[in-house]
Amino acid sequence: MIDARGLSCPMPVVMVQKEVQKNAPQELTVRVDSMVCVENITRYAHLQGYEVQYTQDGGDFVLTLHK
């Protein structure tokens, strides 16, 4: 689980990028707290060939990336 809450652009995507490049996980969960981060991570994940789903959890969003 990557916790990218409260981090400004583009840090959440950088954290996902580092994990993808380092470990190439089949599934990855990311917690963010803004819709902008959901959009940015989703665009990056699609470019890397991941499917993305997200759910809202209070004020947070939890994204699940999977191949």
């Binding site: 652009c9 990028q17 989703t42 665009r43 990056y44 699609h46």
Partner: protein
């Protein structure tokens, strides 16, 4: 599903381009339909934070952009009061981004508008902007972060939108409080209500589309994501075509461009400072206004830093002087020694901030 390029970003870019052309037609200075740096500088002058007589005016565009973002973010349930991500550092970064922009004579948005107006000096600025972004990316990859922001009282999120609303109210009801330029760029402006209305729409669209001048190049380089860059390109194309259609376009040249100088080294270095600082801040000056409108207290502090930077830029004669032609005598303009020293000092400050906030560990 999120598409690779959001049509909303392109639509916003076109709207910003058209808005810039319309504001110029209505009275704003040439190639300055929008300029976040110049307009914040004009507000700093109007409130007498500096006394440069040519650049004093309460620009309703700034108020409109911030309030447009507030209205749209409230309507879309995206308004969130957040703060605490290195606010003092952001203040300093905002000030130096402003100084870099005023050495060049424009924020990244005006840089694109100048490019669309045929100003080749702005293409030199673009090269500097890109170099600055690359430097910023280098530090992002080294682990640069201004750390997390946190939920704060909702009232914190309304500080800048509230201040903007009060500013607009005061200028409409008690204009004698403010200083207004009688000549120079500050004296050239579109009718206040038209400027406010157009900016309100631009602010709302920019909030929805996340338009950001620095984000476009940054994401293209870092992630091969061209979404935001499409907005940048749309502004350029719209302004260029608009200038041609309106008969304002006189070809591409460096000579005697509106409110610009041809001191290319400092056009370049000024925008290196802007690009680097904006990457560290997470967005260009326009984006900082939008974020502040959404309730981001850190962005509000950044905007205040930009206003203070603008005051410094004119009180200490750091800003570039535009080339001019008076009575047949050409003055090349350019950047005074104080401005050059300020840019170099800015690099030193940004380097220290970049190094001190970089860590290879995950953000705590």
């Amino acid at each position: 599903m999120t598409k690779k390029i959001n049509p909303m970003v392109i639509a916003t870019g076109v709207a910003v381009g058209l808005a810039a052309l319309a504001l110029t037609a209505l009275g704003n200075p040439a190639n300055m339909g929008f300029c976040i740096a110049c307009f914040l500088r004009d507000i700093a002058g109007a409130t007498r934070l500096h006394t440069a007589a040519a650049v004093q005016y309460v620009r309703p565009e700034i108020v409109g952009i911030v309030l447009g973002s507030t209205v749209m973010s409230l309507a879309g349930h995206e308004f969130r009061a957040r703060a605490g991500s290195s606010p003092a550092t952001r203040f300093i970064l905002g000030a130096f981004v402003m100084i870099g922009a005023l050495v060049f004579l424009g924020c990244p948005l005006r840089m694109v508008i100048r490019m669309g107006g045929g100003d080749l000096n702005a293409f030199v600025g673009l090269a500097g902007f890109f170099i600055g972004i690359l430097i910023g990316i280098f530090f992002l990859k080294r682990g640069f972060s201004l750390k997390r922001s946190y939920e704060v009282a909702k009232s914190e999120g309304f500080v800048l939108p509230g201040a903007m609303a009060v500013l607009l109210l005061l200028v409409l009801t008690l204009p004698a409080l403010f200083a207004f330029s009688e000549e120079g760029p500050g004296s050239k402006h579109a009718p206040a209500l038209a400027a406010f209305g157009i900016a309100l729409i631009v602010g709302a669209l920019a909030q929805k589309s996340r338009l950001c001048m620095v984000g476009g190049m940054r994401d293209a380089v870092m992630f091969r994501d061209f979404n935001l860059l499409s907005g940048f390109a749309a502004i350029f194309a719209t302004v260029l075509l608009g200038n041609i259609v309106l008969g304002w376009f006189n070809g591409f040249s460096t000579y005697l461009q509106p409110i610009a100088h041809a001191s290319q080294l400092w056009n370049l270095l000024g925008m290196v400072l802007v690009g680097w600082g904006s990457v560290l801040l997470g967005g260009c000056p326009l984006r900082q206004l939008i974020l502040a409108g959404e309730g981001n207290g850190d962005a509000a502090v950044t905007v205040l830093g930009m206003v203070v930077g603008a005051a410094f830029a004119h009180n200490f004669k750091l800003a570039g002087a535009a080339a001019s032609l008076k009575d047949g005598v050409y003055a090349a303009g350019g950047v005074a020694t104080t401005g050059k020293v300020a840019v170099l000092l800015g690099f030193a400050v940004l380097l220290v901030i970049s190094l001190l906030n970089s860590t290879r560990k995950e953000a705590a």
